[in-house]
């Protein structure tokens, strides 16, 4: 694609990974990120757990693959960001200073780590490995954008996606590992449909980066996508092969939440009403007998 001087170029590096292959995985990410940067990307999203891989045999195995944020994976990204001027968002298997394991994503920009986020909604057997995060998805200003980050299954909780939208995020970066589920012929992965809706109801760009590479019997669906604030994919959804998708994003358009002369997707929310109703337990209407 030809660079657009008015736009911010966002890339998702849908790399092939293997659980446990720390060096090979780091190298696959580095190569893809360098190629995307060479092609003009300003912001690069890498998958969830991009160095360790995903399908751990046990918590113990995950621990042997974990590293602190100051460890080699993020240091490599910091070096790369400093060298190329890009912003990198990617996931690691974090060994916390408290000794717990976290499914973590970092934002690296300039020559340093700008934000660390720990996945708050854990998928399946992750619950046996990781401690869930309890902090909001960070929203950070980098050179090109006000961006936010969350991880994979987090994106299926619309309450969670609202948070960065309300904080003014223009681009939500989502490192993911999306296992393949059956779907009807001709349909996109439901993960992509949910991401489209999340972008549209918040008028926010979303860049979701999956990985590929069969791992201990698990296939990944691919489907990485860069979605605009109307909910349409600008790039992707990718198929299930390794590759880079890129899109020129006019991020400032995500600041405008109006969708008609009298509507604004955030301004039209009824937070006082939501608060009142959810304080009571949702209940079945006393409309009469069955």
């Amino acid at each position: 694609m030809s660079p657009d001087r008015q736009a911010t170029t966002v890339a998702c590096c849908q790399v092939s990974l293997q659980v446990g292959a720390l060096e090979a995985n780091r190298e696959a990410c580095r190569r893809a990120a360098e190629r995307a940067a060479g092609d003009g990307a300003h912001i690069i999203v890498l998958p969830e757990l991009a160095a360790s891989g995903y399908v751990f045999d046990s918590r113990e195995e995950a621990r042997t693959l974990a590293e602190p944020v100051s460890g080699p994976t993020v240091s490599g990204w910091t070096d790369l960001a400093a060298r190329t001027g890009i912003t990198i968002v990617g996931g690691i298997c974090e060994l916390g200073e408290d000794g717990n394991l976290y499914n973590t994503a970092v934002v690296v920009a300039g020559s340093r780590v700008r934000a660390v986020y720990r996945k708050a909604h854990l998928w399946d057997t992750e619950k046996a490995v990781f401690t869930p995060g309890s902090q909001a998805p960070p929203v950070v200003d980098v050179a090109e954008a006000r961006l936010a980050v969350m991880i994979c299954y987090d994106l299926e909780f619309p309450e969670w996606v609202r948070y960065p939208a309300l904080a003014g995020a223009q681009l939500l970066c989502v490192p993911t590992n999306w296992p393949r589920f059956p779907r009807p012929d001709g349909e996109r992965p439901m993960e992509v449909v949910r991401a489209q809706a999340a972008a549209a109801v918040n008028r926010m760009y979303i860049a979701a980066c999956d990985r590929v590479g069969r791992e201990r019997g698990v296939d990944w669906v691919g489907g990485s996508a860069i979605i605009d604030p109307d909910g349409w994919p600008l790039a992707g959804p990718a198929d299930d092969s390794a590759g880079i998708i890129m899109a020129a994003c006019h991020l400032e358009t995500a600041t405008d939440k109006t969708i008609s002369e009298h509507n604004d997707v955030l301004g039209d929310r009824r937070p006082a009403l939501y608060r009142r109703l959810f304080e009571e337990s949702p209940k079945v209407h006393e409309g009469g007998s069955r």
Copy 2:
């Protein structure tokens, strides 16, 4: 379609309407609902503002087309429901007992009105005509289902859709009037994409019924759809012509919210965390300087 004795048959009657043509609109709805009932439908969804039409010239015009819930439109549906045994969900331009106009939907089952809902999120010039509702979407037990109702733009607020899901609704009925917006070739209307995601993240059936018929320069997209708890359309999305879509729904499957051995789309929510974060204002991360 052949009736499935294990299933509940849900129908959306995507009728052609004209603003102001009260009798003709009621007749179009009656005919379509009778046909759907004859074809085996148990639950029938009609559009938003199904008797009045939508594109009012003024609040005054809307007032001349408004009626109380006890008025002729809902009385007709009550008669039809009593005669056929079906459940009807449809929209009217309601003249409230307080003199205000409401964009309202009713649930009629057995021989009576089981629930009345007033649209809480108003679209565009509706704000000059209607008073927004301030009550939760009702969740009611009818013979075939625990069903809920909301109207059109309401569905774009995931906070609102959560409410009936938490109250155990198996089927969310959504009378709509979806204006046509431009969309990329090959794409579904974004209204359908949002409905798919809403169904999937809540594991709940959604039946959204649009209308057709060009009205004062406004085209409706059609796109009526009956969507399963995985987010896939069982029927529709319809094109932009008048017609009936029907689907056999195994509503009890919507009671099971599990999506993996360790995941449950409602149980995995972190309400205490959401509450804490939203009590503070969402904020940009203090990660350092730009």
